[in-house]
Amino acid sequence: MSDALLLALPVGLPAALCAALGLAWLLDARPSENTVGRLTSACWLLVSLAVASLAARFFRGAPSLAAYGDWLGAGGQDFPLGLKADGPSLVMLSLTAVLVGVVAVFSRRYMHRDEGFHRFFVLLNLFGAGAMLLFSADSFDLLAVGWELVCAASFLLVAFYQRREAPARGALYMLGVYRICDIGLFAGIGLLHLHHGAPAGPAAAPIALLFLFAAMGKSAQFPFSGWLPRAMEGPTPSSAIFYGAISVHAGAYLLLRARPLFDAAPGTFAAVVAVGALTAAYGALVGRTCPDAKTALAYATMTQLGLIFIEIGLGFDSLALGHIAGHAVLRTAQFLRAPSLLHDHHQLHSASGGHIAPAGAPFGGLLPRPLQGWLYGFALDLRGRGMS
C-alpha cells in the first residue's frame, strides 16, 4: 500500500464515518446503537492497523511522507496538503488510534440508551479525525485545521448534557479560552508565512512565543487552566480521551513541532520552563483541595502537563514524548475507572475492616501542621478564584 493511502486512512476513515452518521441523522435514518458502535470500533481497528503499518515502515528506516497537492490555489498563495509520519507524530498517532478505539468500545456500554448516543459517536469520530490530522500534518497550516476541529469537538462534547446549564457555561468558558489562545497560533502562522517559513534570529522569538501562547491554552497551562476542571461536565469517556489523553497533549506536541523556532531564539526556552513550573505547582497545590475524583484528576493532569512543558523547555524531547505516552494511557484508565471508583473503594474499605490509610499520609509529616493548614486554605482560595 502506498504512503499516500496509508497516511490518508487514519484521517479519512473517521472523517467519512462522522459525515455518514451525521448525514444519516439529518435524513432521519437512525442506525441502531449496535451498528453505530460496531462501525466505530471497526473504523478505529483499521486506523490502528494503518498506524502500525506506518510505524513498521518508520522502524525500517523509511519515514512516510505524502503530498496531495495544493488546497487553496487562490490569490497566489499556496497551502500544501501534506501528511507525514515521523517519530513524534507516530507516538501521538498510535496513542490516538488505540485510545480512541478503547474509548469507543467502552462507550458502547457506558452510553447505552442515552438519548445522545448517536451524537456522541459523531463527535467522537470528528475528534478522532481532527486529532489524526493534527498529529500527521506536514505544515503548521494543516496542523491548525486539526487543532480547530479538536476545539470544535471538545466544545460540543463538554456541553453534551445540554439540558443542564453548568455544562453549557463550562463549554462556553472553554471555547473562550481556546479562541483567545488560538490567536497565538494563527498570528504565528501568519508571521511564519511572512518570513517564508524560516525566520532567523530575533524574528523567530515572537513567533515561538505566539506558539507557546497557543500551547498554553490547549494544554491548560496557568493562567489558562480554569477550563480544565469545568470541562469535566462532559461524559466520562470524552473526559478520558480529551482531557486525560489526547487533546491536552496537543499543546505540548505543538511545542515539539516548533522546536526549530525555539532553537533559533534560545531565550524562549526560559518562558516554556517558567510556564510549566508555575502550572505544575498550581495543579499540585489546588488538586489537594478537590472533593470529587474527576476534578482531582483534572488538576493532576495539569501538574503532569506542567512537568512535560519543563522537559520540553530543557530540551529533553524524547523524555517528554515518553512522558506524554505514559501519562495519556494512565490518565485514560483513571478517568474510565472514575465512575466506579467510589463503589470499589467502599467495598475495599469494608473488606479491610475500615483500615485503609488515607492517600498521601506518609508525606503529611514532611511539613509542619500550621503550614499545611495555611497551604490548604491558600489552595482552596486559588481554586475558588479559578472557578469564579
Binding site: L26, W71, G76, E165, A168, G176, A187, L194
Partner: protein
C-alpha cells in the same frame, strides 16, 4: 447615473420594508434606524458615481487640487462614513420588523463594494496612499463591531453587529490591494452572505414559532425540540467564526496572509475572528442549550421546505470549505 438608479431602487425597497412592517412594530426608533441606514447607503451609491466623475475630472484637469486636500484623510473619512460609526444605528434598525428583508437591505457588503470601486477609480499613487488608511479603519470598525456584539444580549442586535463586522472585514481585504487579501475578501463575502442568511433564516423561523419569548434572558433550550434548526444555526455560526471544514476558514487564512503582507495591522484579524466566533457560538448556546421551558418545549423542528433550503446553504459552506479553489479566482 448608475449611482442615482441604485440609490432610487434602494429608497423604494426601504419604503416597502417600512410600509410592510406590522403597525405595532413600526416604532419611531426602528423607523429612524432603517431610514438612517438607507440614507447612508443611498448617499454612498450617489457619492460613488460623483466620486468617479470628480476623480476623472480632477486627474484630467486639476491634478494640483487632489494634492492640496490631503488625500489619505479624505479617503479615511469617506470609508468611515460608509462603515463606522455611520452604521451604529444598524442594531436599532434590526430590532423590529421582518428580519429577512432587513438583512438583505442593510448588510454592509454593498458598502464595501462601493468603497473598493471608489478606490479603483483613484489614480494609482493616490490609491496606494489611501489603501493602508482604509484597511486600518475597516479593521478598527470590525474590531469595534465585534466588541459591541460581545456586549449585546438581544439576539437581533447581536446578528446586526455580526453582519456589520463582516462587511468591515470584506472592505479591509478589498482595500488592502494584494491578490491574497482580495481573494480572501471574496471568499469571506460568499461565506458571510450565506452564513448570515442561514442565521437570519433560522432565527426568523424561531421567531415565527415563539414570538417575543426568544428575547428572554438565559438559556432557552430549543435544541431538544428543534435539533435540526440547532445544527443549521451551529454550522452557520462556526462558518462565521472561521472554523475549518467551512468556507470561513480558507477566507480567514487568505485574509490574514494578505493583510500581513500589507503590514502588521493584519495581526488584528485573528483577534477579531476569535471574538466573532465566540459571540456567534454564544448566541447558538443561548438559544439552543439549557433546560426548555413551556414556551420552548413544543417548538416544531425544521419543516421540509426549510430543511432543503438550509441544507443547500450548508452544503455550499461545506463544499467551499473542502474545495475553496472552486469558488475563488
Amino acid at each position: 447615473m448608475s449611482g442615482a438608479l441604485e440609490a432610487g431602487l434602494h429608497a423604494a425597497l426601504t419604503l416597502g420594508v417600512v410600509l410592510s412592517a406590522p403597525r405595532g412594530e413600526r416604532t419611531a426608533r426602528w423607523t429612524m434606524g432603517v431610514l438612517w441606514i438607507s440614507a447612508c447607503v443611498g448617499a454612498a451609491y450617489l457619492s460613488q458615481s460623483a466620486a468617479s466623475a470628480a476623480v476623472a475630472w480632477a486627474t484630467a484637469l486639476l491634478p494640483f487640487l487632489t494634492s492640496a486636500f490631503g488625500r489619505p484623510l479624505d479617503a479615511g473619512r469617506a470609508s468611515g462614513l460608509l462603515l463606522f460609526p455611520a452604521q451604529s444605528r444598524l442594531a436599532d434598525a434590526f430590532e423590529h420588523g421582518p428580519l429577512l428583508p432587513l438583512a438583505l437591505l442593510l448588510n454592509g457588503h454593498l458598502g464595501a463594494l462601493v468603497a473598493s470601486r471608489w478606490l479603483s477609480a483613484l489614480d494609482p499613487e493616490t490609491a496606494a496612499m489611501a489603501r493602508p488608511w482604509i484597511t486600518g479603519l475597516a479593521l478598527l470598525a470590525a474590531a469595534a463591531y465585534a466588541a459591541l456584539a460581545y456586549q449585546e444580549t438581544r439576539p437581533r442586535r447581536v446578528l446586526a453587529r455580526l453582519i456589520a463586522g463582516q462587511g468591515a472585514l470584506i472592505l479591509a481585504g478589498l482595500a488592502c490591494g494584494n491578490a491574497a487579501a482580495a481573494a480572501g475578501a471574496l471568499a469571506l463575502w460568499q461565506t458571510a452572505a450565506v452564513a448570515s442568511t442561514m442565521l437570519v433564516c433560522v432565527y426568523a423561523g424561531l421567531e415565527a414559532r415563539m414570538g417575543a419569548a426568544l428575547d428572554r434572558p438565559g438559556f432557552l433550550g430549543l435544541a431538544s425540540s428543534a435539533p435540526r434548526l440547532a445544527v443549521f444555526f451551529a454550522a452557520a455560526a462556526f462558518a462565521l467564526g472561521d472554523m475549518p471544514l467551512t468556507m470561513g476558514f480558507p477566507a480567514a487564512e487568505l485574509l490574514i496572509r494578505g493583510l500581513l503582507e500589507g503590514g502588521l495591522m493584519g495581526l488584528a484579524l485573528p483577534i477579531i475572528s476569535a471574538l466573532n466566533a465566540y459571540v456567534a457560538v454564544r448566541l447558538f448556546a443561548r438559544l439552543f442549550w439549557g433546560r426548555p421551558d413551556d414556551a420552548s418545549r413544543n417548538v416544531p423542528d425544521a419543516l421540509p421546505r426549510e430543511r432543503w433550503a438550509l441544507t443547500a446553504a450548508l452544503l455550499f459552506l461545506l463544499i467551499g470549505g473542502l474545495v475553496p479553489s472552486a469558488f475563488l479566482p
